[in-house]
């Protein structure tokens, strides 16, 4: 990877992996430390999340992780796939799958972060 020349799409992808990695470094390690070490999974429930999402701060924090982690993971997986597939048809199939997974899971995650109401779903 160190030999990638600074031009074209390959270089942009290479650069994106590094930029997103640096941002994720702080965001994800912070998330793991707070949720899995300080709080511990046993203490997390609906009330915990409702309190956490009462202000926009953690919603924005989680939205950044959602967008960066999902794209970093899917671009990384695309790189692995390209190492093992040579035929343009299989690469096209994989690109369609990766884009679909990306769009569906980004939408689902964003839907939760934008519409979650601490009082529970409306009308209940």
């Amino acid at each position: 990877m160190a030999g990638v020349r600074p031009n074209g799409w390959a270089w942009l992808g290479w650069l994106y992996m590094r930029v997103s990695a640096l941002l994720l470094l702080g965001l994800v390690l912070g998330h793991l430390y707070i949720m899995h070490v300080l709080a511990g999974t046993d203490r997390i429930d609906f009330a915990f999340v409702a309190q956490r999402f009462a202000t926009p701060f953690w919603r924005v924090y989680d939205l950044l992780i959602l967008l960066l982690a999902l794209t970093h993971g899917l671009v990384g997986l695309r790189g692995i796939v390209y190492d093992y597939t040579r035929s343009p048809l299989w690469r096209l199939v994989w690109n369609v799958v990766l884009w679909t997974v990306g769009l569906v899971f980004t939408s689902l995650g964003a839907l939760v972060l934008f519409t979650f109401q601490p009082g529970g779903p409306a009308g209940r």
Binding site: A2, A21, D45, G73
Partner: protein
């Protein structure tokens, strides 16, 4: 990228941890979306993580992310300073030592609930 064994191992682990963390991220998004169905649905989904047999897997997830982050830092250092590749083995073992020092207390804290 083949650097006589260790580099190949580090590279392979980077790919395996990357795929594993991506798969968990997809599960995590689905389980979090249960928030939209109210407290009962969400707490029921989270019950999976609260069983004591799941604790080692939760620890493995954190260990995988921290490995991926650490190895990623090493890769970026070598991108910026290609000359440092000469000391790759030494840098890898320094990283491995830091990793062990960080993960040991994390293992104690995360696995403790299993024994309660």
């Amino acid at each position: 990228m083949y650097r006589g064994g260790i580099g190949m191992l580090a590279w392979t682990l980077h790919r395996i941890t990357g795929i594993a963390v991506l798969l968990f991220l997809l599960l995590h998004i689905v389980e979090t979306s249960m928030l939209l169905y109210g407290p009962d649905a969400y707490d029921k989904a989270l019950a999976l993580y609260k069983q004591s047999w799941f604790k080692p897997f939760e620890f493995l997830l954190v260990a995988a992310v921290v490995y991926h982050a650490g190895n990623g830092i090493l890769v970026m250092i070598l991108d910026l300073f290609p000359a440092a590749t000469r000391w790759y083995r030494r840098l890898f073992w320094v990283g491995a030592a830091v990793y062990a020092l960080v993960m040991l207390p994390v293992a104690v804290v995360m696995l403790r609930p299993m024994f309660r």
